[in-house]
Amino acid sequence: MGNAVAIIGTGQTRHGRRSDACYPDLVREAVTAALEDAGITLADIDGVVLGTMPSMMEGVSSTHFYFAEALGSVGKPVLKVETCGSTGQSIGHCGFFWVASGMADIVLVVGSEKMSEGDGQATMTTVFDPFFQRTFAAGAPGVFTMQSMEWMYRFGIPEEKGREAAALISVSNHDNAMDNPHAHIRMRVTMDEVKNARVITYPVRLLDVCPASDGACAVVFASQKAVRKSGRKPAWIRGLGFRGEEFFYGESDKAVWMSATEAAGEAYRQAGIRDPLKELDVAEVYNPFTYQEMIFYECFGFCPRGEAPDYVLRGTFLKGGELPCCPSGGTLCTNPIGATGLIRMAEAALQVTGKAGERQVEGAKLALSHAMGGVDQFNGITIVGSTL
Protein backbone atom coordinates (compact mmCIF):
# COMPACT_ATOMS: atom_id res chain seq x y z
CA MET A 1 0.00 0.00 0.00
CA GLY A 2 2.93 2.38 -0.36
CA ASN A 3 4.93 4.25 2.20
CA ALA A 4 3.91 4.44 5.86
CA VAL A 5 3.34 7.86 7.36
CA ALA A 6 3.07 8.98 10.98
CA ILE A 7 2.39 12.08 12.99
CA ILE A 8 5.42 12.91 15.14
CA GLY A 9 4.41 16.24 16.61
CA THR A 10 1.43 18.52 17.15
CA GLY A 11 0.97 22.08 18.31
CA GLN A 12 -2.05 24.13 19.20
CA THR A 13 -2.62 27.72 20.18
CA ARG A 14 -4.56 28.73 23.22
CA HIS A 15 -7.93 28.85 21.46
CA GLY A 16 -10.53 31.48 22.16
CA ARG A 17 -10.95 35.16 21.46
CA ARG A 18 -7.40 36.07 20.58
CA SER A 19 -7.58 39.76 19.84
CA ASP A 20 -4.18 40.01 21.51
CA ALA A 21 -2.54 38.50 18.45
CA CYS A 22 -2.59 39.44 14.79
CA TYR A 23 -3.43 36.53 12.53
CA PRO A 24 0.10 35.56 11.40
CA ASP A 25 1.31 35.58 15.01
CA LEU A 26 -1.50 33.24 15.98
CA VAL A 27 -0.47 30.83 13.23
CA ARG A 28 3.16 30.99 14.30
CA GLU A 29 2.19 30.09 17.86
CA ALA A 30 0.92 26.70 16.66
CA VAL A 31 3.85 26.17 14.28
CA THR A 32 6.41 26.83 17.02
CA ALA A 33 4.65 24.44 19.38
CA ALA A 34 4.53 21.67 16.78
CA LEU A 35 8.22 22.01 15.90
CA GLU A 36 9.10 21.80 19.56
CA ASP A 37 6.87 18.79 20.10
CA ALA A 38 8.42 16.99 17.10
CA GLY A 39 11.92 17.98 18.15
CA ILE A 40 12.73 19.44 14.75
CA THR A 41 13.57 22.83 13.26
CA LEU A 42 12.26 24.57 10.17
CA ALA A 43 15.29 23.31 8.26
CA ASP A 44 13.99 19.75 8.62
CA ILE A 45 10.72 20.53 6.85
CA ASP A 46 10.37 19.64 3.16
CA GLY A 47 6.96 21.14 2.54
CA VAL A 48 4.09 23.02 4.15
CA VAL A 49 0.33 22.55 3.74
CA LEU A 50 -2.03 25.31 4.84
CA GLY A 51 -5.80 25.47 5.04
CA THR A 52 -8.45 27.77 6.43
CA MET A 53 -12.19 27.80 5.85
CA PRO A 54 -13.10 30.34 3.19
CA SER A 55 -10.77 33.30 3.39
CA MET A 56 -13.83 35.50 3.48
CA MET A 57 -13.99 34.66 7.17
CA GLU A 58 -11.05 36.96 7.83
CA GLY A 59 -11.24 39.17 4.77
CA VAL A 60 -7.80 38.30 3.41
CA SER A 61 -7.45 36.30 0.22
CA SER A 62 -5.06 33.39 -0.32
CA THR A 63 -3.57 33.46 3.16
CA HIS A 64 -0.64 31.22 2.21
CA PHE A 65 0.90 34.49 1.02
CA TYR A 66 0.13 36.43 4.19
CA PHE A 67 1.36 33.62 6.45
CA ALA A 68 4.52 32.79 4.43
CA GLU A 69 6.83 33.70 7.31
CA ALA A 70 4.56 32.55 10.13
CA LEU A 71 4.41 29.09 8.55
CA GLY A 72 8.17 29.05 8.21
CA SER A 73 7.51 28.35 4.53
CA VAL A 74 9.82 30.88 2.88
CA GLY A 75 11.99 28.96 0.43
CA LYS A 76 9.81 25.86 0.69
CA PRO A 77 7.07 24.35 -1.45
CA VAL A 78 3.60 25.11 -0.13
CA LEU A 79 0.20 23.64 -0.90
CA LYS A 80 -3.06 25.31 0.08
CA VAL A 81 -5.92 22.91 0.46
CA GLU A 82 -9.42 23.85 1.56
CA THR A 83 -12.76 22.06 1.81
CA CYS A 84 -14.84 24.26 4.18
CA GLY A 85 -15.28 22.85 7.68
CA SER A 86 -13.60 19.62 6.67
CA THR A 87 -10.45 21.55 5.76
CA GLY A 88 -8.64 20.28 8.85
CA GLN A 89 -9.01 16.68 7.72
CA SER A 90 -8.29 17.49 4.08
CA ILE A 91 -5.00 19.22 4.85
CA GLY A 92 -4.00 16.31 7.06
CA HIS A 93 -4.75 13.99 4.16
CA CYS A 94 -2.62 16.17 1.88
CA GLY A 95 0.25 15.98 4.38
CA PHE A 96 -0.16 12.21 4.41
CA PHE A 97 -0.08 11.90 0.60
CA TRP A 98 2.86 14.27 0.24
CA VAL A 99 4.96 12.01 2.47
CA ALA A 100 3.43 8.78 1.15
CA SER A 101 4.31 9.84 -2.42
CA GLY A 102 7.97 9.77 -1.48
CA MET A 103 8.35 13.43 -2.47
CA ALA A 104 8.97 14.55 1.11
CA ASP A 105 10.15 13.12 4.42
CA ILE A 106 8.67 15.73 6.73
CA VAL A 107 5.64 17.89 5.97
CA LEU A 108 4.20 20.54 8.25
CA VAL A 109 0.42 20.89 8.08
CA VAL A 110 -1.28 23.96 9.50
CA GLY A 111 -4.95 24.87 9.87
CA SER A 112 -6.21 28.14 11.24
CA GLU A 113 -9.16 30.43 11.64
CA LYS A 114 -9.65 33.77 13.34
CA MET A 115 -13.39 33.93 13.63
CA SER A 116 -13.55 36.93 15.93
CA GLU A 117 -12.36 39.05 13.02
CA GLY A 118 -15.28 38.34 10.72
CA ASP A 119 -18.99 37.68 10.96
CA GLY A 120 -19.25 33.91 11.26
CA GLN A 121 -22.90 33.40 10.36
CA ALA A 122 -22.89 35.99 7.58
CA THR A 123 -19.81 34.31 6.13
CA MET A 124 -21.47 30.91 6.45
CA THR A 125 -24.43 32.22 4.51
CA THR A 126 -22.16 32.91 1.53
CA VAL A 127 -21.54 29.15 1.32
CA PHE A 128 -25.18 28.61 0.36
CA ASP A 129 -25.88 28.67 -3.33
CA PRO A 130 -26.78 32.18 -4.48
CA PHE A 131 -29.10 30.89 -7.19
CA PHE A 132 -31.84 29.19 -5.18
CA GLN A 133 -31.25 28.59 -1.50
CA ARG A 134 -29.33 31.50 0.02
CA THR A 135 -32.53 33.48 0.51
CA PHE A 136 -33.69 30.95 3.08
CA ALA A 137 -30.35 30.33 4.78
CA ALA A 138 -30.10 30.76 8.50
CA GLY A 139 -26.40 30.18 8.96
CA ALA A 140 -25.05 26.96 10.37
CA PRO A 141 -27.64 26.51 13.16
CA GLY A 142 -30.49 26.59 10.63
CA VAL A 143 -29.04 23.74 8.60
CA PHE A 144 -28.05 21.58 11.52
CA THR A 145 -31.45 22.02 13.07
CA MET A 146 -33.19 20.96 9.86
CA GLN A 147 -30.99 17.91 9.69
CA SER A 148 -31.53 16.95 13.33
CA MET A 149 -35.30 17.32 13.05
CA GLU A 150 -35.37 15.14 9.95
CA TRP A 151 -33.25 12.51 11.67
CA MET A 152 -35.44 12.35 14.79
CA TYR A 153 -38.59 12.18 12.71
CA ARG A 154 -37.19 9.46 10.44
CA PHE A 155 -36.25 7.16 13.29
CA GLY A 156 -39.16 8.04 15.52
CA ILE A 157 -36.99 9.46 18.28
CA PRO A 158 -39.21 11.16 20.85
CA GLU A 159 -38.39 14.83 21.29
CA GLU A 160 -37.81 14.37 25.02
CA LYS A 161 -35.30 11.59 24.54
CA GLY A 162 -33.43 13.53 21.89
CA ARG A 163 -33.35 16.54 24.16
CA GLU A 164 -32.06 14.54 27.12
CA ALA A 165 -29.28 12.86 25.12
CA ALA A 166 -28.22 16.13 23.46
CA ALA A 167 -28.03 17.78 26.87
CA LEU A 168 -25.81 14.99 28.18
CA ILE A 169 -23.50 15.47 25.20
CA SER A 170 -23.24 19.16 26.01
CA VAL A 171 -22.54 18.50 29.70
CA SER A 172 -19.89 15.87 29.03
CA ASN A 173 -18.11 17.91 26.36
CA HIS A 174 -18.00 20.90 28.69
CA ASP A 175 -16.68 18.65 31.46
CA ASN A 176 -14.01 17.28 29.15
CA ALA A 177 -12.92 20.75 28.05
CA MET A 178 -12.00 21.47 31.68
CA ASP A 179 -9.17 18.94 31.19
CA ASN A 180 -7.93 20.63 28.00
CA PRO A 181 -5.70 23.68 28.47
CA HIS A 182 -6.19 24.68 24.81
CA ALA A 183 -10.01 24.70 24.90
CA HIS A 184 -11.95 27.91 24.26
CA ILE A 185 -15.00 27.37 26.48
CA ARG A 186 -13.96 26.09 29.87
CA MET A 187 -16.89 26.03 32.24
CA ARG A 188 -19.06 23.34 33.75
CA VAL A 189 -22.72 23.22 32.80
CA THR A 190 -25.61 21.20 34.20
CA MET A 191 -28.33 19.28 32.38
CA ASP A 192 -30.88 21.89 33.45
CA GLU A 193 -28.75 24.74 32.22
CA VAL A 194 -28.46 23.16 28.79
CA LYS A 195 -32.16 22.34 28.57
CA ASN A 196 -33.16 25.84 29.60
CA ALA A 197 -30.59 27.81 27.66
CA ARG A 198 -31.74 30.41 25.15
CA VAL A 199 -33.24 28.90 21.99
CA ILE A 200 -31.13 29.54 18.90
CA THR A 201 -33.19 27.61 16.35
CA TYR A 202 -35.68 25.30 18.03
CA PRO A 203 -34.92 22.75 19.45
CA VAL A 204 -31.27 23.79 19.41
CA ARG A 205 -30.27 25.97 22.34
CA LEU A 206 -27.23 28.06 23.08
CA LEU A 207 -25.37 25.30 24.92
CA ASP A 208 -26.01 22.88 22.06
CA VAL A 209 -23.93 25.07 19.79
CA CYS A 210 -20.16 25.53 19.36
CA PRO A 211 -18.50 28.90 19.92
CA ALA A 212 -16.71 30.95 17.24
CA SER A 213 -13.03 30.67 18.12
CA ASP A 214 -9.66 31.99 17.08
CA GLY A 215 -7.04 29.31 16.89
CA ALA A 216 -4.51 27.38 14.89
CA CYS A 217 -3.18 23.85 14.90
CA ALA A 218 -0.01 22.44 13.37
CA VAL A 219 0.82 18.79 12.81
CA VAL A 220 4.09 17.25 11.62
CA PHE A 221 3.82 14.28 9.22
CA ALA A 222 6.88 12.07 8.78
CA SER A 223 8.09 9.14 6.72
CA GLN A 224 9.24 5.93 8.41
CA LYS A 225 12.82 7.08 8.01
CA ALA A 226 12.10 10.47 9.59
CA VAL A 227 10.13 8.83 12.40
CA ARG A 228 13.14 6.72 13.32
CA LYS A 229 15.44 9.73 13.16
CA SER A 230 13.15 11.86 15.33
CA GLY A 231 13.04 9.36 18.17
CA ARG A 232 9.48 10.55 18.84
CA LYS A 233 6.64 8.17 19.52
CA PRO A 234 4.66 8.05 16.26
CA ALA A 235 0.93 8.06 15.67
CA TRP A 236 0.67 6.02 12.47
CA ILE A 237 -1.93 6.93 9.87
CA ARG A 238 -3.95 3.75 9.52
CA GLY A 239 -6.82 4.83 7.31
CA LEU A 240 -8.36 7.87 5.68
CA GLY A 241 -11.51 8.68 3.79
CA PHE A 242 -13.17 11.78 2.38
CA ARG A 243 -16.55 12.00 0.67
CA GLY A 244 -18.82 14.78 -0.56
CA GLU A 245 -22.44 14.97 -1.63
CA GLU A 246 -24.33 17.29 -3.99
CA PHE A 247 -24.08 21.03 -3.58
CA PHE A 248 -27.80 21.62 -3.21
CA TYR A 249 -29.08 20.87 0.25
CA GLY A 250 -32.02 18.50 0.02
CA GLU A 251 -30.74 16.31 -2.80
CA SER A 252 -29.09 13.77 -0.52
CA ASP A 253 -30.68 12.20 2.51
CA LYS A 254 -29.10 13.90 5.50
CA ALA A 255 -30.72 11.62 8.09
CA VAL A 256 -28.51 8.73 7.02
CA TRP A 257 -25.83 10.94 5.52
CA MET A 258 -23.97 8.95 2.87
CA SER A 259 -20.82 11.11 2.86
CA ALA A 260 -20.25 10.52 6.59
CA THR A 261 -21.07 6.84 6.33
CA GLU A 262 -18.89 6.15 3.31
CA ALA A 263 -15.93 8.27 4.45
CA ALA A 264 -15.83 6.23 7.66
CA GLY A 265 -16.34 2.99 5.73
CA GLU A 266 -13.38 3.80 3.50
CA ALA A 267 -11.13 4.59 6.48
CA TYR A 268 -12.23 1.42 8.29
CA ARG A 269 -11.44 -0.72 5.23
CA GLN A 270 -7.94 0.69 5.09
CA ALA A 271 -7.41 0.27 8.83
CA GLY A 272 -8.96 -3.21 8.86
CA ILE A 273 -11.63 -2.18 11.36
CA ARG A 274 -14.82 -4.25 11.38
CA ASP A 275 -16.45 -3.34 14.65
CA PRO A 276 -15.58 0.28 15.34
CA LEU A 277 -17.32 0.40 18.74
CA LYS A 278 -15.15 -2.42 20.02
CA GLU A 279 -11.94 -1.79 18.14
CA LEU A 280 -11.61 1.98 18.47
CA ASP A 281 -10.34 3.24 21.82
CA VAL A 282 -11.33 6.86 21.40
CA ALA A 283 -12.99 9.11 18.81
CA GLU A 284 -12.69 12.82 18.13
CA VAL A 285 -15.90 13.57 16.27
CA TYR A 286 -16.48 17.02 14.74
CA ASN A 287 -19.49 18.09 16.75
CA PRO A 288 -20.48 21.74 16.29
CA PHE A 289 -24.01 20.76 17.42
CA THR A 290 -24.98 18.26 20.08
CA TYR A 291 -27.76 16.63 18.07
CA GLN A 292 -25.51 16.25 15.06
CA GLU A 293 -22.93 14.33 17.09
CA MET A 294 -25.50 11.56 17.46
CA ILE A 295 -26.04 11.35 13.70
CA PHE A 296 -22.30 10.89 13.33
CA TYR A 297 -22.25 8.03 15.86
CA GLU A 298 -24.74 6.21 13.68
CA CYS A 299 -22.96 6.97 10.40
CA PHE A 300 -19.66 5.80 11.86
CA GLY A 301 -21.22 2.54 12.95
CA PHE A 302 -20.83 3.17 16.68
CA CYS A 303 -24.47 2.12 17.11
CA PRO A 304 -27.45 1.14 14.94
CA ARG A 305 -29.46 3.83 13.13
CA GLY A 306 -31.88 5.65 15.37
CA GLU A 307 -30.37 4.31 18.57
CA ALA A 308 -27.71 6.94 19.26
CA PRO A 309 -29.73 8.63 22.03
CA ASP A 310 -30.02 5.31 23.88
CA TYR A 311 -26.30 4.67 23.64
CA VAL A 312 -25.55 8.23 24.72
CA LEU A 313 -27.84 8.00 27.74
CA ARG A 314 -26.25 4.65 28.64
CA GLY A 315 -22.89 6.43 28.90
CA THR A 316 -21.24 4.57 26.01
CA PHE A 317 -19.39 7.66 24.80
CA LEU A 318 -18.49 9.21 28.12
CA LYS A 319 -14.99 9.17 29.51
CA GLY A 320 -14.72 5.70 31.02
CA GLY A 321 -17.41 4.42 28.64
CA GLU A 322 -16.96 1.84 25.94
CA LEU A 323 -15.87 4.39 23.31
CA PRO A 324 -15.02 7.79 24.82
CA CYS A 325 -15.84 10.57 22.35
CA CYS A 326 -14.23 13.99 22.33
CA PRO A 327 -12.20 13.82 25.55
CA SER A 328 -10.80 17.18 24.41
CA GLY A 329 -14.17 18.84 24.84
CA GLY A 330 -14.55 18.69 21.09
CA THR A 331 -15.73 21.21 18.56
CA LEU A 332 -18.57 22.06 20.90
CA CYS A 333 -16.09 23.90 23.14
CA THR A 334 -13.55 25.05 20.51
CA ASN A 335 -14.23 25.85 16.87
CA PRO A 336 -11.67 27.79 14.84
CA ILE A 337 -13.14 26.25 11.66
CA GLY A 338 -10.09 25.75 9.42
CA ALA A 339 -8.14 24.34 12.36
CA THR A 340 -10.91 22.28 13.93
CA GLY A 341 -10.59 19.12 11.84
CA LEU A 342 -6.83 19.15 12.32
CA ILE A 343 -7.27 19.64 16.06
CA ARG A 344 -9.35 16.45 16.02
CA MET A 345 -6.48 14.67 14.26
CA ALA A 346 -3.90 16.13 16.64
CA GLU A 347 -5.98 15.09 19.65
CA ALA A 348 -6.30 11.56 18.27
CA ALA A 349 -2.52 11.46 17.79
CA LEU A 350 -1.96 12.70 21.35
CA GLN A 351 -4.24 9.93 22.62
CA VAL A 352 -2.48 7.05 20.85
CA THR A 353 0.94 8.34 21.84
CA GLY A 354 -0.10 8.75 25.48
CA LYS A 355 0.54 12.49 25.42
CA ALA A 356 -2.97 13.76 26.08
CA GLY A 357 -2.32 14.77 29.67
CA GLU A 358 -5.42 15.18 31.82
CA ARG A 359 -7.65 14.19 28.95
CA GLN A 360 -5.79 10.92 28.24
CA VAL A 361 -7.97 7.87 27.68
CA GLU A 362 -6.06 5.13 29.46
CA GLY A 363 -4.23 2.78 27.08
CA ALA A 364 -5.66 4.24 23.87
CA LYS A 365 -4.11 2.57 20.83
CA LEU A 366 -6.51 3.25 17.98
CA ALA A 367 -8.35 6.54 17.48
CA LEU A 368 -10.75 8.06 14.96
CA SER A 369 -10.73 11.73 14.02
CA HIS A 370 -13.25 13.50 11.84
CA ALA A 371 -14.43 16.75 10.32
CA MET A 372 -17.48 17.90 8.41
CA GLY A 373 -17.79 20.74 5.92
CA GLY A 374 -20.04 22.73 3.62
CA VAL A 375 -23.78 22.78 4.05
CA ASP A 376 -23.69 19.23 5.43
CA GLN A 377 -21.85 18.33 2.23
CA PHE A 378 -18.45 16.87 3.16
CA ASN A 379 -17.02 14.43 5.66
CA GLY A 380 -13.41 13.44 6.23
CA ILE A 381 -12.00 10.76 8.52
CA THR A 382 -8.53 9.77 9.66
CA ILE A 383 -7.72 6.78 11.84
CA VAL A 384 -4.45 6.85 13.76
CA GLY A 385 -2.85 4.04 15.74
CA SER A 386 0.07 3.48 18.08
CA THR A 387 1.25 0.70 15.79
CA LEU A 388 1.44 0.44 12.03
Binding site: A70, E117, T126
Partner: protein, 154 residues
Protein backbone atom coordinates in the same frame (compact mmCIF):
# COMPACT_ATOMS: atom_id res chain seq x y z
CA UNK B 1 -21.14 44.71 -16.51
CA UNK B 2 -24.33 44.50 -18.58
CA UNK B 3 -24.65 40.99 -19.99
CA UNK B 4 -26.89 39.76 -22.73
CA UNK B 5 -27.59 36.54 -20.87
CA UNK B 6 -29.29 35.97 -17.52
CA UNK B 7 -27.20 36.54 -14.42
CA UNK B 8 -27.76 37.16 -10.77
CA UNK B 9 -26.02 39.91 -8.94
CA UNK B 10 -24.17 38.55 -5.93
CA UNK B 11 -22.59 41.23 -3.77
CA UNK B 12 -20.49 39.95 -0.95
CA UNK B 13 -20.25 42.57 1.75
CA UNK B 14 -18.88 41.59 5.10
CA UNK B 15 -17.76 43.47 8.17
CA UNK B 16 -14.43 42.80 9.88
CA UNK B 17 -12.53 43.64 13.01
CA UNK B 18 -8.91 42.79 12.50
CA UNK B 19 -6.56 42.38 15.45
CA UNK B 20 -3.29 44.25 15.07
CA UNK B 21 -1.51 42.36 17.82
CA UNK B 22 1.03 43.88 20.12
CA UNK B 23 3.79 44.72 17.66
CA UNK B 24 1.69 46.42 15.03
CA UNK B 25 -0.31 48.26 17.66
CA UNK B 26 2.91 49.80 18.86
CA UNK B 27 4.06 50.50 15.31
CA UNK B 28 0.88 52.39 14.45
CA UNK B 29 0.88 54.22 17.78
CA UNK B 30 4.36 55.35 16.78
CA UNK B 31 3.09 56.79 13.50
CA UNK B 32 0.59 58.85 15.46
CA UNK B 33 3.54 60.45 17.24
CA UNK B 34 5.36 60.90 13.92
CA UNK B 35 7.81 58.13 14.69
CA UNK B 36 8.58 55.25 12.34
CA UNK B 37 9.41 52.19 14.41
CA UNK B 38 11.24 49.13 13.24
CA UNK B 39 12.43 46.03 15.00
CA UNK B 40 15.91 44.57 14.89
CA UNK B 41 16.60 40.84 14.80
CA UNK B 42 19.09 39.79 17.42
CA UNK B 43 20.30 36.91 15.25
CA UNK B 44 20.85 38.44 11.83
CA UNK B 45 20.93 42.08 12.95
CA UNK B 46 18.54 43.22 10.23
CA UNK B 47 16.14 46.10 10.89
CA UNK B 48 12.61 45.65 9.51
CA UNK B 49 9.97 48.30 8.90
CA UNK B 50 7.07 48.05 9.65
CA UNK B 51 8.09 46.43 12.93
CA UNK B 52 7.74 42.64 13.06
CA UNK B 53 7.01 40.42 16.02
CA UNK B 54 9.47 37.90 14.62
CA UNK B 55 12.27 37.98 12.08
CA UNK B 56 10.89 36.92 8.70
CA UNK B 57 14.18 35.20 7.91
CA UNK B 58 15.34 33.73 11.23
CA UNK B 59 11.88 32.90 12.69
CA UNK B 60 13.04 34.21 16.11
CA UNK B 61 11.18 36.74 18.22
CA UNK B 62 12.32 40.30 17.77
CA UNK B 63 12.71 42.26 20.98
CA UNK B 64 14.69 45.35 20.08
CA UNK B 65 12.81 48.42 18.87
CA UNK B 66 14.54 50.96 16.65
CA UNK B 67 13.54 54.47 15.65
CA UNK B 68 13.92 54.77 11.91
CA UNK B 69 14.46 58.20 10.34
CA UNK B 70 11.53 59.36 8.18
CA UNK B 71 13.70 59.57 5.10
CA UNK B 72 15.27 57.25 2.65
CA UNK B 73 15.92 56.55 -1.00
CA UNK B 74 13.64 55.60 -3.84
CA UNK B 75 14.00 51.99 -4.98
CA UNK B 76 11.26 51.75 -7.60
CA UNK B 77 7.85 53.29 -8.33
CA UNK B 78 4.80 53.12 -10.55
CA UNK B 79 2.28 55.70 -11.59
CA UNK B 80 -1.19 54.18 -11.28
CA UNK B 81 -3.60 55.43 -13.92
CA UNK B 82 -6.08 52.58 -13.83
CA UNK B 83 -9.22 52.68 -11.73
CA UNK B 84 -11.22 49.85 -10.24
CA UNK B 85 -13.90 49.02 -7.79
CA UNK B 86 -13.15 49.93 -4.18
CA UNK B 87 -9.81 51.56 -5.00
CA UNK B 88 -7.93 52.99 -1.99
CA UNK B 89 -7.07 56.27 -3.65
CA UNK B 90 -8.24 58.32 -6.60
CA UNK B 91 -5.88 57.80 -9.56
CA UNK B 92 -3.42 59.01 -10.67
CA UNK B 93 -1.10 58.27 -7.78
CA UNK B 94 2.38 56.87 -7.32
CA UNK B 95 3.11 53.72 -5.35
CA UNK B 96 6.75 53.24 -4.46
CA UNK B 97 9.28 51.14 -2.64
CA UNK B 98 11.50 53.19 -0.36
CA UNK B 99 14.60 52.06 1.52
CA UNK B 100 14.47 53.99 4.78
CA UNK B 101 17.80 54.90 6.31
CA UNK B 102 19.14 52.28 8.68
CA UNK B 103 16.75 49.53 7.55
CA UNK B 104 17.26 46.29 5.65
CA UNK B 105 14.02 46.07 3.72
CA UNK B 106 11.97 48.30 1.45
CA UNK B 107 8.96 50.24 2.70
CA UNK B 108 5.76 50.51 0.66
CA UNK B 109 4.13 53.90 0.43
CA UNK B 110 2.97 56.64 -1.89
CA UNK B 111 5.13 59.33 -3.45
CA UNK B 112 3.58 62.75 -4.01
CA UNK B 113 4.15 66.41 -3.26
CA UNK B 114 4.77 67.65 -6.80
CA UNK B 115 2.87 67.59 -10.05
CA UNK B 116 2.95 63.85 -10.59
CA UNK B 117 1.04 64.16 -13.87
CA UNK B 118 3.95 66.06 -15.41
CA UNK B 119 6.17 63.51 -17.10
CA UNK B 120 9.22 65.78 -17.12
CA UNK B 121 8.86 66.42 -13.40
CA UNK B 122 8.63 62.70 -12.78
CA UNK B 123 11.74 62.03 -14.83
CA UNK B 124 13.63 64.71 -12.90
CA UNK B 125 12.47 63.81 -9.41
CA UNK B 126 11.97 60.06 -9.42
CA UNK B 127 15.39 58.71 -10.25
CA UNK B 128 16.32 55.48 -8.55
CA UNK B 129 18.25 56.37 -5.43
CA UNK B 130 16.59 59.80 -5.17
CA UNK B 131 16.17 61.03 -1.61
CA UNK B 132 12.63 61.15 -0.23
CA UNK B 133 11.15 62.12 3.12
CA UNK B 134 7.91 61.35 4.89
CA UNK B 135 5.17 63.98 4.84
CA UNK B 136 2.85 63.50 7.80
CA UNK B 137 -0.92 63.78 7.63
CA UNK B 138 -2.23 66.57 9.81
CA UNK B 139 -5.00 64.33 11.19
CA UNK B 140 -3.78 61.01 12.51
CA UNK B 141 -5.65 57.73 13.06
CA UNK B 142 -2.75 55.49 14.03
CA UNK B 143 -2.74 53.83 10.64
CA UNK B 144 -0.43 53.63 7.64
CA UNK B 145 -1.93 56.76 6.10
CA UNK B 146 -0.68 58.84 9.05
CA UNK B 147 2.20 59.25 6.66
CA UNK B 148 0.45 61.10 3.85
CA UNK B 149 3.18 60.26 1.34
CA UNK B 150 6.89 60.55 0.72
CA UNK B 151 8.09 63.63 -1.12
CA UNK B 152 11.29 64.04 -3.10
CA UNK B 153 13.82 66.13 -1.18
CA UNK B 154 15.03 69.42 -2.80
Amino acid sequence: MAKEYRTIRNDVALPYQWALGKTWTRFFDGLKEERILGTKCKDCGKVYVPARSFCPTCFTDTTEWVDVPPRGTLVTWTLVNASWYGQVKEPPYIVALIRLEGTDCDFHHYVDGFDITDEKERKRKLKTGAKVKAVWSPAKNADIRDIAWFAPVK
